[in-house]
């Protein structure tokens, strides 16, 4: 499998505080990769660095084989258009309805007429699992789960190749969170997406991710399949995966996995 994202030697610092130092990361095409790590280890900073919202002090970020940091602005914007980003709180534009939120990139980038963009937006909204009448609502009228789905629909608007999700299930009830996990899995299989998830949700990690990357001590401690990561000899990882919550999530996921792969 080829790498769609290659992060090499990245150093991020804010003032005197170094968040990442010589950080390397590979994301393979078509995989669902979860980034885990304690609070303040810079998971979201890493996501922001890859999508271009944060410029690292050193190092390179290669996406589709091109170094984002040295590309001219126009070419870089072209590549960034192949990203879909779901922000932690949705970041839906509050002055636009859900349908308008989703149609905005279609109007701005794909140059579609309003009617066609509205049709495609309705499709994305349906793909994200929202009822048809949700399109006319404003973000303030939506529940937390619906905001995430609407934001996902917007992230999918331009048919991205890579989907970045920042804590997609945070603040959702377990049923909503499980449904969202399944939705991501379905979309990945149907649309052939590469999915980069920053998460704390052990259930997400156990049910849908292909590989797990652990951020600690300013670097990527380990980046491998769940079994390998869980077996890594590190105090934090042990506590994370083999603490009471980790065990419960593992046990909950096991019969599920068995059913999916008979």
């Amino acid at each position: 499998m080829s790498n769609v994202i290659e992060v090499r030697g990245v150093r991020n610092q804010f003032g005197a505080q170094v968040v990442h130092d010589r950080l390397d990361l590979d994301v393979r095409r078509g995989e669902i990769l979860s980034i885990v790590g304690g609070s303040g280890t810079g998971k979201s900073v890493l996501l922001r660095t890859i999508v271009g919202l944060n410029r690292p002090a050193a190092g390179s970020v290669r996406v589709f084989g091109e170094d984002l940091l040295t590309l001219p602005v126009a070419r870089r914007a072209q590549i960034e258009r192949r990203f879909g980003v779901l922000f932690q709180k949705g970041a839906l534009f509050s002055s636009l309805t859900v349908a308008e939120n989703v149609a905005l990139p279609l109007l701005e980038h794909a140059g579609l007429p309003a009617a066609q963009a509205a049709e495609l937006a309705a499709l994305k909204i349906a793909l994200a699992g929202l009822p048809a009448n949700a399109g006319d609502k404003y973000p303030s009228d939506l529940s937390g789960g619906m905001v995430k789905r609407a934001a996902l629909a917007r992230a999918l608007a331009l048919d991205p190749d890579i989907l970045f999700l920042d804590e997609p299930t945070a603040g959702l009830d377990p049923i909503g969170a499980a449904a969202f996990d399944q939705l991501i899995l379905t979309l990945r299989d149907a649309l052939g997406l590469t999915v980069f998830i920053v998460t704390h949700d052990l259930d997400t990690i156990y049910t849908i991710t292909d590989r797990v990357a652990v951020l600690a001590q300013k670097r990527l401690l380990v980046n491998d399949s769940l079994e390998v990561v869980a077996a890594t000899d590190d105090a934090w990882i042990r506590e994370y995966f083999h603490g009471p919550r980790g065990r419960a999530a593992a046990e909950a996921a096991r019969p599920g996995l068995a059913q999916e792969n008979p």
């Binding site: 009448n133 149907a190 649309l191």
Partner: protein, 385 residues
């Protein structure tokens, strides 16, 4: 999957041809967002003939994304699309999953009833009706809040132990002391402007000495307190709304209630009391600054010395003008503080709501200050004060 940079992009294409004695729909090229408009036109043209098609050939299909899948759905209809999605020989598993997902999503959408269209006139009438309702509830709400504030104030007044002196002092500093420079500067400038106007107009009548009376009357009776109230409405009412509103958005007000405390007593009363003290003091500063501004212009433009200015003010301007002016200050202060706090309490959850209510608080308090001032001016005129 979307087109990858490496694959050669060929625009999508669809045609109906006769091959091997059968009518074949041939779908080729990239069916992606980039070619959406051209494809949509082709689809529109071919749709009417779709019933004649006996076989679908997708061997030459390039890239396919959700936009292309939607067009295939439009072209083929859900039945044929489902059949195509089930055909393992023609398409890869990923493609079939994409077609199924899009087909299902569009199906679900068609199944749902469309929202009814509304007429423009009805919308306008509805909006007018709703706005009237909101306005009425607003007035009732304001009256209720004033009553609640007064009731709490009376209750707390009798129990000195419950006076929040620290909060009062902090609010007093923010609303009074910090506002002195801006109030003094602005009223100084307006005082100078009024004196210039007086000097220009009254010089034609040879009565330019009455500029002194103009400045003194206007600042003691009206401008001192009115300008200060407007500045304070913009500065302090908005601050009150933003402070209480962000606490409200953060559920802090609910926490206060759950802890068995009274938000009125804790948050509203110290602010109202602070402004009740602050606005008269600021108004006094404003009157002095306005007079000084007028005095400076009189000195420079009219050769009226400060001593002469002051003696004329002393002999011509009665004390009651000052009293009428300063008496309005506590009324304005109460209204501004109550509106600021009430709008803060009305904030519902989001940061956007904080912004909306802050704007509303400023607009309302300036509006009400000017209305009350006008009513008071009429009243004083009729009473001959």
């Amino acid at each position: 999957m979307s087109a990858l940079a490496s694959t050669v992009a060929t625009p999508g294409h669809a045609e109906i041809v006769a091959a091997d004695g059968a009518t074949v729909l041939r779908i080729a090229g990239d069916w992606t967002l980039a070619h959406y408009l051209a494809l949509a036109a082709q689809v529109e043209a071919l749709r009417t003939h779709i019933d004649e098609v006996e076989r679908i050939d997708v061997a030459a299909l390039g890239a396919l994304d959700t936009a292309g899948a939607r067009l295939l759905h439009v072209l083929l209809g859900s039945g044929r699309l489902a059949a195509l999605a089930a055909d393992g020989a023609a398409l890869s598993a990923g493609r079939r999953a994409l077609l199924r997902a899009v087909g299902d999503a569009l199906e679900a959408r068609e199944a749902a009833a469309p929202s009814p269209r509304r007429s423009a006139v009805g919308d306008v009438l509805e909006h007018v009706g709703r706005t009237m309702g909101i306005f009425w509830r607003h007035i009732v709400g304001l009256a209720g809040f004033i009553g609640l504030t007064l009731e709490t104030a009376l209750r707390v007044l009798l129990q000195p132990r419950r006076w929040r002196l620290t909060a009062l002092a902090a609010n007093l500093e923010k609303t009074a002391l910090d506002a002195v420079p801006i109030v003094a500067l602005l009223t100084f400038l307006v005082g100078a402007v009024v004196a210039f106007l007086g000097a220009t107009v009254l010089a034609d009548f040879g009565a330019s000495i009455f500029t002194v009376d103009l400045v003194a009357f206007s600042f003691l009776r009206e401008f001192g307190v009115l300008l200060t109230a407007i500045i304070v409405a913009g500065r302090t009412a908005s601050a009150f709304t933003a402070q209480i509103g962000s606490m409200r958005a953060n559920e802090e007000i609910d926490a206060i209630r759950v802890l068995g405390l009274d938000a009125m007593e804790l948050l509203v009363l110290p602010r109202v009391a602070a402004l009740l003290l602050a606005l008269p003091m600021l108004s006094f500063v404003a009157m002095i600054a306005g007079l000084v501004g007028g005095m400076l212009v009189c000195m420079m433009a009219l050769d009226v010395s400060p001593v002469m200015f002051l003696s004329r003010v002393e002999s011509n301007v009665a004390l009651r003008h000052f009293l009428i002016g300063i008496a309005k200050a506590p009324v304005f202060a109460f209204l501004i503080a109550v509106i600021g706090c009430l709008e803060g309490m009305r904030v519902a959850g989001s940061a956007q709501s904080v912004g909306e209510h802050t704007t509303s608080a400023v607009v309302q308090s300036i509006f009400i200050v000017i209305v009350v001032d006008a009513v008071a001016a009429l009243f004083c005129m009729e009473m001959g004060w």
